[in-house]
Amino acid sequence: MSVTGSRRLLMVVASIAFSLAAGSVQAQTRAETLRYVTGASVNTLDPNIPGSTREAFAVSLSTYDRLVSFGRKQLNGKWVFDLGKITGELAESYDVSPDGLKMTFRLRKDAKFQDGTPVTAEDVKWSLDRVVTAPVLGKAQLLTGSMTSADQFKVIDPLTIEVTLPKPDKLALPNLATVYPIIINSKVAKAHATADDPWALAWLKENTAGSGAYRIETFKPGEQVIMARNTAWNRGTADKSAFFKRVIVQSVPEPATRANLVERGDADLVIDLQASDVQSLEAKGKLKVTSTPQYNAVTFVSMNNQIPPFDNANVRRAVAFALPYEDMFKAALFGRGSPLFGATWADGKPSSGAYPIPQPVKLDLEKAREYLKAAGMPDGFSTTFSFNVGQASTAEPMAALVKESLAKIGIKVDIQKLPDAQMSTQINEKKLPFFTEGIVAWLPSTDYFYRNFYTGNQRWNYSSINNPELVEIAQKARFEPDAAKYEEDGIKLNAIHFSEIPQIPLWQPSQDAVMASSVEGYTYQFHRQVDYRDLNRK
C-alpha cells in the first residue's frame, strides 16, 4: 500500500467522523426545538386584534407576559389549569383589599422587556388602558371583571400599580390572567402609534414589544411562526427561562398528514388530530397521548326556544329523550370525552351547583312519544338540523344518528351542512331552529355560563331562552360572596335548566394532545391551546 493510499483512507475516515459530528450537533438542536403542528394558523401577533385565531393566542402567551397567571393542578392524573390559584407573572406579589375594591400589584424588579429596558408601572397602565379603551377584543373580556375604564388603573410608584373596582368582583383578578391584558413596552409601541391609531394596533399586529419567554424569529401568517427563547426571562414556574430554545408553530391543514408527522417523529406535539387517528396512535403505544376532557367546554344540541315547534317545552323534552346519546358519543368522538347524559338525580334534584353537570336524560322513545303527545303533536313535525363545515368530522355522523332516531317518533329532520361564516350569521340572526354547537368559557363558573349563554337576545344565547327567573338568579350569584349560597343558586339554575331544557348538553370533548414520548409538562389550559412555556424534553 502506498503512502498516498493510506493518506486518502485517513481523509475518508476524517471526513466521515466530521460529518457524524455535524450530525450530532444537528440532532442536539433538534432536541432543543419544539415543532408543533396545527390545522389552524396564527394571523396576528397581538391577541387583541378582532379576528385573532386561537393559535395567535397561544403565541402571544409566550411572547408577552401578563400581570398574573393561573397555577396548575392535577385532575385525574393530568395537569390542568387551576382557576383557584393565581400566581404572579410580571407581578412579584399582589394584594386584594379586605373590601375587595382595590387590587395592588408590585412588579418584579428584575423584569425586563426584550429590548432590555425595565418593565415599569407606566407600561402596565398604558397596556391596561389600551385593553379597556381601544377597539380590541380584550374590552369585552375585562368587562366581565368589572374593569371598563382607564381611570381604574393608577400608578402608585414605578413598580406599583393599583386597580380599583366599582364593586367586589370575583372575576376581576382572574381576568388579568387571561389572554388579552398583555403588558406591552409602551415606549416602543408609542413610537409606532399614529394619530389615527393611538394604540399602535397596526404595528403590534405584525411586531411584538413584550417581555415574554420567546421572541419572534419568523412570522408568516397562515404558514408558520418560529420563536427563539428569551434567555433573560425568568417568570416560569421554576423561576428559570423556558426549556426549548426554539419553538416552531407550523400550519399543516391535512389531519392525516399531521398524524403521520407526529408518528414519524418529525413533529413533537399536535392537539387537533381526528379522534380515529388518536385512537390508532394510542393503540400503537409509541407516542404519549394525553386526553383531558375540556372541562370548560360543552357541546350541545340547541333548539331555538322562540321558533315553533321548539317554543313548546314538551317538544324539547321529547327531543331530549329521543336522542341516541351512546351511539352519538361513539360515532362522533369515539367515546373520547366526558358524557353529560345518562345521570340519575336523587329526588329529581340536580346533583350539584356546578356547570355543566350530567343530565338525567337517556334514549327512551316511549317517554319521547308521550311528551310529543302532550305537546299536541303526536304525529311529529318536520325541521332542519344544522352544523358547520368546520365541525363536519364530528357533527356529520352525529346528525345522521339524530335524523334516524327522531324519525322513529315522527320528527322528520333535514340535515343542513353550512359553511362556517354562514352558520355563525344565521345563529346571530336567530334563524336556525335546531342545530349543534359548542361553547367554552375561559373562567368557568356557574353564573358566568348562565349569564353569557342563557341570557339576553344575543348571539351566544344559542337557545334564545328568555327566562326572567334564571336571569335574576344568575345576576345575583355573580356577586355572591358566600360559597354555600352560591352553590344553592347553582342548584336552582341547574334545576331550571333541566325543567325548561332550552338546549341539550351532550358531552365535553377531550383535548387529545399527542406528543413524542420525550415531551413532558403538557398542561391543559383555559384557552385550549398549548402553552409552550410549560413544556420540556427529558
Binding site: E254, N260, L261
Partner: protein
C-alpha cells in the same frame, strides 16, 4: 406582437366584468364575515360592528364597489381578515409557490403524456395502446388527494424516502434570499445546491400527484391528433421518400399534431393553478388555491376577490402565450 397586444387589450373588459361580478357575488352569498371573525369568547354586537367598519361593510354596496374599484385601480386589493395581511402581499408570496408546483407538474405531465400518446398512435389497437389507455384511465379515476395521500403513505411514512410533506422546504432549513419566489431558481442563484436538492425533493411528490391527474387528457389528445397526422398525405410522401422514421414521426407528424396539445396544455395549466386545492392542502403547500378556499369558507371577501382577479389575469396571459406558441409551432397562424 401587435396582434398579441390587441388580444390583451380586448380582454380587459372581461377582467373588469370578472371584478364586478365577483364583488357582487361575494356580497350576495349568505354569511357575514364580521360575525364569523368576531368569534372570541366574549365578542358581542360591538365587536361585530368594529369588524364591519374595519372591512368597510357599514357603507352601502354601490359605495363599497366604487371604493373597491378605486383601490384596485391604485394596486390595492384590500386586506385579508384571515391572515391579517394585504391581499397583494399574500398573493405575491403564494403565487410563486403555486406556479412552481403547477409548472413542474405540467412539465412532468407533458414529458410523459406526449411520448405515451405518440407511442399509442404509432401502434393503434396494440397492447401498448391499451396499456396507455389503462394508465390514463387510472390517473383520471384516482382523485388527486387520494393519490397524494397514497404517495405520502408509501414514500414518506413507509419508506422514509421523501421528506415530510409540509410545504416547500424543510422547516429547519434556511431560505435563499428571495429573488423570483421560485425556490428552485432562488437556490440556484444563491449557489446553494443542497438547498436546491431539498426544495426539489419537497416538490416532487405533490407535482407527481398533480401530474397523474392531467396525463390522461394530454396523452389522449396527442394520440388522436397524431393518428390524423400520421394518416395524412405528407407523412405518406415522407415515408415514400425514404426519410428515417424518427424524422417522419418527430419533425413532420408530431410538429403538425402539436397544436391541439398546446391548446389543451394551456387550459390544463390554468385549471391546475386554481383548482388544485386538495393537493395544496394535503402537502401543506402555501399556494393560492388553498388560500382562496379558506377565505371562501370564512367569507373573507378581499382575498376571494383578489384570487379570482388573479386567476382571470393568469388565464388571459396563458391564452396569450398559447397564441404565441401557435405561431412558433405553425408559422401560418401569424400570417392568417
Amino acid at each position: 406582437m401587435i396582434r398579441a397586444g390587441r388580444r390583451f387589450l380586448s380582454s380587459l373588459p372581461a377582467l373588469f366584468g370578472v371584478l364586478v361580478f365577483t364583488f357582487l357575488l361575494m356580497r350576495v352569498l349568505p354569511g357575514d364575515p364580521a360575525v364569523f371573525f368576531a368569534s372570541g369568547p366574549n365578542a358581542g354586537k360591538e365587536e361585530i360592528e368594529v369588524i364591519r367598519k374595519q372591512m368597510g361593510l357599514n357603507k352601502p354596496v354601490p359605495e363599497q364597489l366604487m371604493l373597491y374599484l378605486y383601490d384596485v385601480g391604485s394596486g390595492n386589493l384590500g386586506r385579508s381578515m384571515m391572515t391579517g395581511q394585504l391581499v397583494t402581499k399574500d398573493l405575491r408570496e403564494r403565487l410563486p409557490a403555486s406556479l412552481e408546483l403547477t409548472l413542474t407538474a405540467l412539465l412532468i405531465a407533458l414529458l410523459s403524456a406526449v411520448p405515451l400518446g405518440v407511442l399509442a398512435a404509432l401502434r393503434p389497437g396494440s397492447i401498448i395502446d391499451h396499456g396507455v389507455r389503462f394508465f390514463c384511465a387510472l390517473g383520471v379515476c384516482v382523485p388527486t388527494f387520494v393519490s397524494g395521500l397514497l404517495l405520502i403513505y408509501v414514500f414518506y411514512y413507509l419508506l422514509g424516502l421523501a421528506p415530510d410533506p409540509t410545504g416547500r422546504v424543510d422547516i429547519f432549513a434556511s431560505l435563499p434570499p428571495r429573488q423570483t419566489g421560485f425556490l428552485l431558481i432562488d437556490f440556484l442563484l444563491a449557489g446553494d445546491f443542497d438547498g436546491w436538492w431539498a426544495a426539489f425533493r419537497q416538490l416532487i411528490l405533490p407535482a407527481l400527484s398533480m401530474a397523474l391527474f392531467v396525463v390522461a387528457p394530454l396523452a389522449r389528445i396527442t394520440r388522436a391528433s397524431m393518428l390524423v397526422s400520421l394518416g395524412s398525405d405528407f407523412v405518406r410522401t415522407a415515408h415514400s421518400l425514404g426519410l428515417p422514421w424518427w424524422q417522419v414521426v418527430v419533425t413532420y407528424a408530431l410538429r403538425n399534431a402539436i397544436l391541439p396539445v398546446i391548446t389543451i396544455a394551456g387550459i390544463v395549466f390554468s385549471t391546475m393553478l386554481g383548482a388544485n386545492v386538495l393537493v395544496e392542502k394535503v402537502f401543506s403547500w402555501p399556494g393560492v388555491a388553498s388560500y382562496a378556499l379558506d377565505a371562501l369558507l370564512s367569507s373573507d371577501y378581499a382575498p376571494v376577490q383578489g384570487f379570482v382577479l388573479l386567476m382571470a389575469t393568469v388565464f388571459v396571459i396563458v391564452n396569450l402565450l398559447v397564441d404565441i406558441l401557435y405561431g412558433v409551432a405553425d408559422p401560418r397562424v401569424t400570417i392568417g
